[in-house]
Amino acid sequence: MKNSLIITCFFIGGILAGFFRFLPSGWMGTDITRWILFGLIFLVGFVLGTDPRLGMLVRSIRVSVVLVPLAVAAGSLGGAAIGCLLLPSLSLPDSLAIGAGFGYYSLSSIMIGELSGKTAGAIALIANIFREITTLLAAPLLVKWFGTMAPVLSGGATSMDTTLPVIMKYAGKEYLFPALISGIILTMLTPLLISFIYAIF
């Protein structure tokens, strides 16, 4: 939660800096931000690779465990496609890419801002922060209405870190494992799917 606030502050700080013309515009889509993005993706992989839980998780993977991130991926893209029908101003690739954020708002908004445009990047940030906050606040209701797996599904990529505590509290301790595996797989899928979506459309 603390990190979400700091990240949002930087974004809002950027908006103010742009609004009051503190710095020249035209940064996104240039070589500079492209290289920072490459560095960012390398670091995302690096941090995942050094995660002491990674080896243990890869060894314990079963088909039944992969079904959870599969449901999140298919369902999020499906939901985003419906969103595209309801929101005519949003293109299908942008809508799908925003859905492929799976709650990983920092990386998805940056990638979409860079690969598509600032408006889609801003919606990606709002949509994916909203997804994380909804999971954090509504976890008990999600469990009550849709079953114990619901907060893991709703958390998406965040179920490996930020939303893990509420998942364990309201779904149960036995959901630690599915939540970690689903979160790690979706965290890797986010950059791959977003770049794939913009490559094929």
Partner: protein, 89 residues
């Protein structure tokens, strides 16, 4: 697409090879946050410098919230469908 996949895999392999050097991880996490702050600041400044921006705030918020709820609902529905098939087997 392939560049991003390659960079991600290169990062995972490098991290895996260097995982015994515990001190690298906190440093990498800090650098990662720094990159995120910088890029989101640039993204924000790009949006803020657009004269049409102030009129768009409400619409962007609404679209974001709707997409968040639809992706959550979609994930739960997809899980229920998969569950249905798995239990009927």
């Amino acid at each position: 697409m392939w560049w991003i996949a390659l960079i991600l895999v290169a990062g995972i392999i490098t991290g895996r090879l260097l995982r015994s050097r515990n001190r690298l991880r906190p440093g990498a996490e800090k650098l990662l946050l720094l990159f995120i702050y910088a890029l989101l600041f640039f993204l924000g400044s790009e949006i803020g410098s657009d004269p049409a921006f102030t009129g768009q705030i409400k619409a962007l918020g609404f679209q974001g919230a709707l997409l968040a709820l639809l992706t959550i609902a979609g994930s739960i529905v997809a899980w229920k469908i998969i569950h249905l098939f798995f239990h009927e087997k």
